[in-house]
Subunit: 355 residues, 3 copies
């Protein structure tokens, strides 16, 4: 079996269950690691995640509604609090002691709703990635979304950590000329929690999206900084600065700046929820700048989705076939290496606990 | 495994294969207990059910047509009589002795077409439920229909025998206020062939459907009488009478009266054909009364369908998990108990026959 | 298991991968015998077939494009020549020696693109069926198409070699009266590579399509000559000549003449690509004659598709059940016999090779 299919999930880690704004519209039903969940805010606004299966007759809690006491099953009206404890059974005074549903640690921070699918005792909030930009609309106005992709979640991590695909999959939009990408100065280095991919394309023609964003007239020095944080996040910075302004020495000067947060939450072994937010660090007082960047980029992720979904089918067809490594895979391998360490550690803990 | 999923079917019992009126429009193709069937009337109007698979090359008989001799396969023209015997092979004079398809006992009575999926020798017509109301258009004008639900057939029996769901699933239509339902005086008792659930909601506000039907001005005494007849029928009477008229003593007096016949014919372990007929015992000379009741009720069954289909998925996810019992399950348990007795008896017979 | 389901494929044989004209529009993605393929012409116009799976990360080559060097993967830009060898990896000078994808022998002849799914060393071009009519637009103007059918490919061979179905499935179009068909003088005889079915319907009413084609005024002598060439081709000639003209003695005289080439390329065990071409040997200078014949016939193949797809389901339901033989199956059995000889020979070779 190659490393691209059907490895065990890392359970003791934080995954994005939802964007905070999704919960503002009511209950969210979502399957994570094959477990159907209902995610909701209680009457006090606190987010919770419960298994989406009433303990009474197995009905979905997502068919119900939030009451002042908790979430009420839409079938026979049992109510569960955010910890999963049944607090009311219609038609009787007592609640059976075995009436509860599984709950999951949830932390809402920086407009992410993070969930811990593993051992609740290990749910260490300090492991949550810090991402203050979502709270800085004046500096980083942003837009967020989510859509499903029918592929193993790591296909997205692979995609993001091998940017040589930009010129082929996205040549007409954010990518630009493939030769620019294959000629990029690329460094890949391990980090404590994953790896870092840095690419410089000096004195290169800006891709169409860049020109639309900030009106470049000539070539630019272009940097892409992608940080993989295992198991399922990639934090992206993209920068374009007019040639001759000393971009390498000063990344913070005016030009094109945007940040993306990418996350792939496993739904099943062969599907994931792709979350991304996109923030622009230019023309911050012009809402159309954010919208334009989003409108330019969103379709490119659908291009990725299309290719990944067939890629997944091809790999599933014969998972035992070896893949062929090329130089562009350097960061991808560092990412996979870190993931494998996490999986190995977690599996070892499980074995130890079972002994 | 819980009792809600994948128990063996009861085969030695009568199930509704179709409404009689369905056969008036021609052949009906329907899968029952995983067996694809063709149900049709012969040239004399007699109903028959055959497996929907020609013995010659396996083509579906539903692609054919009824002739004076029987049903003609739509592929190469073999003709089978209602007993499944091939009576004609185009292009040859003799019919091979092994040319036959399986036939099933069929009884048409009271506008039901009943089928027996088990041992034909045990097909006792006296077991067919008597339901003369379908033949009494002056007293009980009615309307019938059928639709598929992707859940184990017993989910429907559970649904009907635990009426505490009315206030939650159907609050805005036939159900009304949930507190009325959870406060109902409820009795559940075993019967020879199943169980009987009786609920009285004295001096309670009538639900919207009731008001539309007969124009109640104030509170009513409301009764619901649901009889489960194993394995797959529920016979329902619903009654509403103005408060103070002595409803308990005289159920037959003017008011709102309706009868439903519910039946869940297994298509597979995880899907069934839901048949129901609905008869009104008020404003019998006004066809719009029947139509109105039907139009009010039909959407509520789609509400049930929606919740049952997800419930089925949740139970299938992990059939071994125990469910939690509550007081409202009393009739449901009597129903399941009777079903289990039938299953156990049938399995014991099969074992004995095999020895 | 009956002989109608799930026999091994014959791999050492030529199958139609595509019509030549399909490749004129660009890449064709097509699954044959469970193997996803990309079929394309290189910059010189030579047709090739490669597995549709890049050796780098498993992405589909069908997402790419043809360049002067070969087909370029649409994900990271690797380029493969028509033999499957990787000739370029973006971003590096050398190509890893293990960078190749599987290629398949392809021969383009008479507007067929033939593929060999077995041992390339055995790909003998002399086995390709000669069919010059596609190159004779003055004598045999024609039209070709392809559509998918969800059934084992041999269902189509069975269909074509038992023409008693014409009167039942296609009574209103090309078939005409069933009695004409069941009364046809039929001979079935083995040939070196399959079998030959010949049917004469002397002094019979022409079916509607025939009348539209050449305006028959009275009865005709009608011949159907179907040659099965194992494993997956049927070559059809249909002829109608006015009664009294001595049709048997001289088949080539004026009348209605058409030729069809039928082919069923297995996609999976339970689906195939149905290729057919249809050529008319009358009114050759009137393009509407070809179009009219096509428009009359195409819908009849959809009638076959519909019945075969349910037939397949019925046979899959219980593959072990025996079928019942009738006289009309004579040619079908000769065809199956030849197929079984090919399968047996190929299996024996595989066993011998493994020893």
């Amino acid at each position: 079996m190659t490393d691209t299919t059907f490895e065990p999930f890392v359970r003791n880690a934080w995954y994005i269950a939802a964007w905070a704004e999704e919960l503002d519209d009511g209950l969210v039903g979502r399957t994570i690691m094959n477990e159907p969940l209902v995610i909701f805010r209680d009457a006090d606004g606190k987010a919770s995640a419960l298994e989406d299966r009433c303990c009474h007759r197995g009905a979905p809690l997502t068919s119900g509604q939030v009451t002042s006491e908790g979430i009420e099953c839409g079938y026979h009206g049992l109510i569960f609090d955010g910890a999963g404890k049944c607090v009311r059974v219609p038609g009787q005074d007592n609640v059976p002691s075995n009436a509860w549903v599984r709950s999951y640690p949830i932390v809402e921070r920086h407009q992410f709703v993070w969930i811990w699918m593993g051992d609740p005792a290990k749910a260490d909030e300090s492991l949550i990635i810090d991402y203050p930009y979502h709270e800085q609309p004046d500096k980083w106005p942003h837009r967020k979304t989510m859509f499903p992709i029918k592929a193993n979640y790591m296909m997205m991590m692979d995609n993001l950590m091998d940017l040589s695909h930009l010129g082929y999959v996205h040549g007409k939009t954010i990518g630009g000329n493939p030769n620019v990408h294959t000629g990029a100065e690329t460094t890949a280095e391990p980090t404590e929690r994953g790896c870092l991919l840095t690419r410089w394309m000096m004195d290169s023609p800006p891709p169409p999206t860049y020109v639309k964003a900030v009106g470049f007239k000539g070539n630019i020095d272009r940097a892409q900084i992608f940080e993989y944080v295992a198991p399922a996040s990639v934090i992206q910075r993209s920068i374009g600065i007019d040639v001759g302004k000393g971009a390498r020495e000063n990344l913070e000067q005016p030009g094109l700046h945007f940040r993306l947060f990418h996350h792939a939450t496993p739904e099943t072994e062969t599907s994931f929820h792709y979350f991304f937010s996109m923030a622009n660090g230019y023309r911050q007082d012009d809402p159309s700048a954010t919208q334009q960047l989003y409108d330019e980029t969103y379709p490119t992720f659908l291009e990725d989705k299309e290719i990944m979904e067939i890629q997944q089918q091809r790999l599933e067809n014969d998972p035992s076939r070896e893949l062929v490594n090329i130089k562009a895979d350097q960061a991808l391998f560092l990412a996979r290496k870190k993931l494998h360490e996490m999986i190995a550690a977690e599996q070892a803990e499980m074995v130890a606990a079972a002994e």
